[in-house]
Amino acid sequence: METMTGTDFSEWLRGRSDEHLRALVTARPELVTPVPAHLDGLAARACSPSALGRALDRLDRFQLAVLETLALREGPSSRAALLSMIVRAAPGTAAEEETGAALDAALDTLVTRGLVYGPPDALLPAPGVPAALEPPAALGPPAAEVFRHHPPERLDVLLRDIDPAYDGGGQADAGRPARQRLAALLSDPATVARLLEEVSPQARAALDELVWGPPSGRLPSARREVDTATAQSPIEQLLARGLLGATGEESVALPREVALVLRGGRVHRDLSPGPPALDGPVRDQELADRTAAGQAFMFVRMVEELCELWSVDPPGVLRAGGLSVRDLRRAAQLLDLPEWAAGLVAEVAHAAGLVAAGEGEWLPTGGYDGWRIKATEDRWAVLAAAWAAMDRAPGLIGERDDRDRPLNALHPDLRRSGAAQTRARTLAVLEAAPPGLAPTPESVLARLAWEQPRRRSAPREPLVRFALREAEHIGVTGLGVPAAHGRAAARGDGRAAADLLAPLLPQAVDHVLLQADLTAVAPGPLTTDLGRRLALTADVESKGGATVYRFSEQSVRRALDAGHSAGDLLAMLERHSATPVPQPLAYLVTDVARRHGRIRVGVASSYVRCDDPALLDEVLADKRAHLLRLRRLAPTVLASKTSRAALVDTLRAMGYAPVAESLEGDVVVARADARRTEGPPAARAPANPGLGPEAAAGAVRAMRAGDSAHRSRRPPAETPEGQVPRSPSTATISALEEAIRQGSRVWIGYTDSQGHATSRILEPARMEGGYLTAYDETRATVHRFVLSRITGVAGYDSERSETPGERAAGVD
């Protein structure tokens, strides 16, 4: 492996087609942020430990196993050699052709991602991969590593004991050759078998414990001076033969070579080319869809109810942000939900931008008004999408943080960096589940662990469980089974989700059943208009698929207060009732109406009182008094809407001599009943920091361009013909667009920030927001150019046909 250098890899990379490079940077977008100047830069970055770490994290268990197998082999490997090892590691799980196909797919992925390179008959792991994989497949360190700190005398003793051909090395530099000799011996199956024959069964059992990992164990005073003659315990027998080596004062390890021999030519024990199957109860898919739709309907309504509650009675924003426990409890009570579910409703509403913090209170946003008037299925799609992309973990609400403080809903502390990604992956697993299957959380976790074995699963597990619980609550799954609309939502296809959901939702009804016990039952969601009117006239008693309303004196009075007459109400009820209006209900309405409004209450700021009605007649008749908006309540009393001071002043100006009377009674101005905040829209994490095809193509072009400059070591290009190109701005734009589309180079005139006219040779990548992003060949870097400062464009295509990428593409 020492022979393999970065140069080989970089040359291989250079020889890949543009299409391959685009696939590479699409799969590993971190390689082009920022875009490297040339392909050597790309190769170096691709082999850096951090980039490799991220790439390895994205591999599934099988891909990782293939890579580990390859990395453990000496030198280049052929596909056939790999296949034979993989097949041995996957006994009985699949037919050889199937495993072969899986291997090809895995290799394809690994090559595409630049983790494996070379021709099919001589595959190599990319530089840095073996180190990044360390320790691979739960193997211990190589013998050279295990015995590194053994003094030469010990090695000497060891080799004498186990190697009949050993004649004693030279004293001077015995260390290194002795270690190499030991490593070679331990890699030899015959030698290992011979050594195993010599030890006791207990020692063999101890070794078996370590074979499949963990490959090390604790042993007090591990560095013992033992040889085959003095060895007592089973462990000492192993130490004396180099089958175990002391790696520290109190630890021993199984050398990698020994483990590989003991594994019998396999690297992995039970390797499956496919992911573990999801398991769980199987239910009727149609029933699941219906149940999920019911839950979706409920969830939408919960969000609406919460927003309605908060628009008239907003809870305060805690000083540290978030919603207080008490306010959450109140919401939970109102919505008749457990607290975690109420917290989820609030969080999703927030993530969807329907509520935000404004003026120290949580208030619905203007966005809520727009959302509210949409169809239920569309509203759900909005919520489901917001939930899926949310980088927060509402499931943590009510739990305690490191400092033992409760985690509040809507609090910044609920952000979890992996939340959105874990949820997305969980949804992807659900999306792919067979119809009717309700996967158990354990099997989902097992699947995720297979898909990304290198990610630590400990912090992920609660997030997955939250995601599953929330999916059920939001109506993505029903009875645990992913619903059709839920699958569409999981794919991110909101339109399809809404279309699938729509027929499952209860149809709006325009009639109610009126009953003599003064209740009305709406056997489904009411049309908006009727729903609003009934809600005004009666109190809601029970909610769900249907709504039960109860008429009472107070509720009828409320409707009358809102300006309806008894006749209106009865006509409305008659129109929307399938049966005649029950007599007690009709009686109630007329009875309340009979008494309604007999006492009148008004608001006046001040009054004018005078024992002489004639004088008041005079005041009223005066034109100057119009501004005072006086109204005669009784012969001797006038009411006014102006303030007492203004009244007194005006009357004085009119020539009267009024005296101010003290009085109690302030005007109570009702608070505006529905408040809104603009608030900052809820921040949405980019669901996937992926690279669009345009960006990938641009990055590849830029690197190719840089590469050719880099390789030719050309000095920065001067203006080709010594003058700056000029063209009209529309022509500039269209020329640049054309260049982007074709991936060609252009020569531009550019006014730099100091106002100097310059010229550059660019490979334009993309144009957006008044900027051109392009690889600047003149300065060998990617740069953003202000479009308005580009004075002109001219074609510059001299070397295009000679780029190595094109050549490579021709060969492929």
Partner: protein, 551 residues
């Protein structure tokens, strides 16, 4: 979208559309685990309560059946949370069992050790249990069988009582079906009770609960203690038992204020049982006087608190509760469940009416208006006097007279709360008045005269609320009541629900003062009946003279 008759609400109520073709089927399926809460004309409301679910478990239904019934009949998707809740609630039942033990008498055992540990930690349970007999069982003092059941229910871990019942002293009792026979529902009710062991039967007034009691006694064939509300009722029970069963006069004892007989079948009043002298209940020994095989509680909704406590000690005996309205204004329905037993049978009033077992009744609310001077006085009255003031307005006397005139020739009961008002009515109507101070003998004479139609109009106070059997009463006029008591209203309607000889209907008038608390209380009182499907028709007092109010 299915078109089932049932709508499952998120607050655990079930709405059943009664005109739906599958409504009957659905009703049968949900009745075991949901309480009928309201039964007005179009949509009946059931409620799924923990109690009802445990009842269903006790009757051998499992969560899957419940979930299937809900999903199968539901028009809309059933809220997932509700299904989970049903399964969880039902799973709580039977984790703890009360069993007989050859050595320790009674033990509490568990199939889930954590639950036992949890309940044993409760301070309320500790005094009720004895030694720990092992990891999964603990001894229970036999006398605490009722208390521990009651307490466990409150803790949410109802115990399945497998300890069985004592047979009691054998005594032959047979139904004597000569010229009458047990109605189907009475038989079903008695059988349901017997198979369940203990429990409550809910039947409308006038549907023959006494006969259900008699049928239960015929099942038990053992000495029986019957607890009733008052002496008159005790006499009626005795007459009914003599008529319906093989029991003879000598076998039935009365244990009332005046007589203290203890016989194979003994009828005692709640009042006697709860009489205290020098702080002790003097008549408690009655419970131990014989080895009773059956204890019958009449009007179980009125069971006074001391009787509850005494009943806690009677858990080894079979107990039958009878009532028309399992609505307790004190909210102790849970105690009835744990001490007497779960509801074993229930029949909606309107269904009984449709089958002709109770008289069809029409309820009419008559509104009277206070005079202006009365309104002023009403406005100034102290709040605790207001109800009395407005419910005894002279206007009510006038309209009552008019109503009685309208129903001349029919048997009319006038029922009220306030003695002054009743006396005044008695004078105006020239009718006898039965009130608390009226001697039992005199009461029975008057009731008999009323039954024999020698008296047409009878004015009664709340002493006649319950258990008074007046088959020929066709019209009841209620002038005042115990504030907003729903069960009183139902019981008073019950006075006129006995099927009439001529097959005619009954009329129930409730006279109410408009725009007063009387009207508010009336609205509350009427709720139970309105929910049973009795639609109140409202008329104005001024109209009583002119048109036929029963139209």
């Amino acid at each position: 979208m299915s078109d089932g008759p049932l709508i499952v609400q998120s607050d655990k109520t079930l709405l059943l559309e009664v005109d739906h073709p599958r409504a009957g089927e659905c009703r049968k399926a949900i009745a075991p685990f949901a309480e009928l809460e309201r039964a007005p004309e179009h949509v009946h409301t059931y409620r799924v309560t923990p109690l009802a679910l445990w009842n269903a478990r006790a009757a051998g239904h499992d969560a899957e059946q419940v979930v299937d019934a809900l999903i199968g009949f539901s028009r809309y998707p059933v809220p997932h949370a509700l299904l989970v809740d049903v399964a969880e609630t039902m799973a709580r039942y039977g984790r703890l069992r009360l069993e007989k033990h050859p050595v320790h008498g009674l033990v509490l055992t568990t199939s889930d050790r954590a639950v036992l540990e949890e309940v044993l930690r409760s301070k309320k349970i500790q005094p009720l249990v004895g030694d720990r007999l092992g990891a999964d069982s603990v001894a229970v003092h036999p006398s605490e069988r009722g208390n521990i059941k009651q307490t466990l229910l409150k803790l949410g871990w109802p115990a399945e009582d497998l300890a069985g019942y004592v047979d009691g002293e054998h005594h032959p009792i047979d139904l004597r079906e000569d010229g009458w026979e047990l109605r189907p529902y009475q038989k079903e009710a008695a059988d349901a009770f017997w198979h369940g062991g203990s429990g409550v039967v809910v039947l409308p007034c006038g549907a023959g609960k006494t006969i259900v009691g008699a049928a239960a006694m015929a099942h038990a064939r053992a000495t029986t203690l019957i607890l009733v509300t008052n002496t008159v009722s005790a006499h009626q029970w005795k007459q009914e038992l003599l008529r319906r069963t093989s029991l003879t006069e000598d076998e039935i004892g009365e244990y009332t204020g005046t007589k203290k007989e203890i016989r194979p079948v003994t009828i005692a009043t709640y009042q006697v049982m709860t009489t205290r002298r020098q702080g002790t209940y003097r008549h408690l020994e009655l419970f131990d006087a014989r080895d009773w095989g059956l204890v019958v509680y009449d009007e179980v909704h009125l069971l006074p608190a001391p009787i509850f406590r005494m009943t806690a000690d009677l858990q080894a005996r079979r107990r039958l509760g009878l009532t028309a309205t399992l609505v307790r204004e004190d909210g102790r329905e849970g105690d009835v469940f744990s001490l007497i037993g779960p509801k074993r049978y229930d029949a909606p009033w309107k269904e009984m009416e449709n089958q002709g077992y109770i008289a069809p009744a029409e309820c009419v609310e008559v509104r009277v208006t206070l005079r202006d001077d009365e309104r002023l006085a009403y406005a100034m009255a102290e709040s605790d006097e207001r109800y009395r003031f407005c419910s005894t307005t002279p206007a009510k006397i006038r309209v009552t007279e008019a109503l009685v005139r309208r129903h001349e020739g029919e048997q009319v009961l006038v029922i009220g709360q306030y003695i002054d008002q009743l006396d005044e009515l008695g004078e105006h109507l020239d009718a006898p008045v039965i009130k608390g101070e009226t001697k039992v003998k005199e009461r029975e004479r008057l009731f008999q005269a009323f039954r024999d139609k020698e008296i047409q109009v009878l004015v009664v106070s709340k002493v006649a609320n319950f258990s008074i059997d007046l088959p020929e009463a066709a019209v009841a006029i209620q002038v005042s009541g115990t504030f907003g008591s729903r069960q009183e209203e139902a019981q008073r309607l019950g006075r006129v629900l006995r099927p009439k000889a001529d097959g005619g209907g009954a009329l129930f008038y409730s006279v109410v003062s408009r725009d007063t608390v009387d009207q508010e209380f009336a609205a509350h009182r009427q709720r139970f009946l309105a929910e049973q499907g009795y639609a109140y028709h409202i008329i104005d007092a001024d109209d009583v003279g002119q048109e036929d109010p029963a139209r």
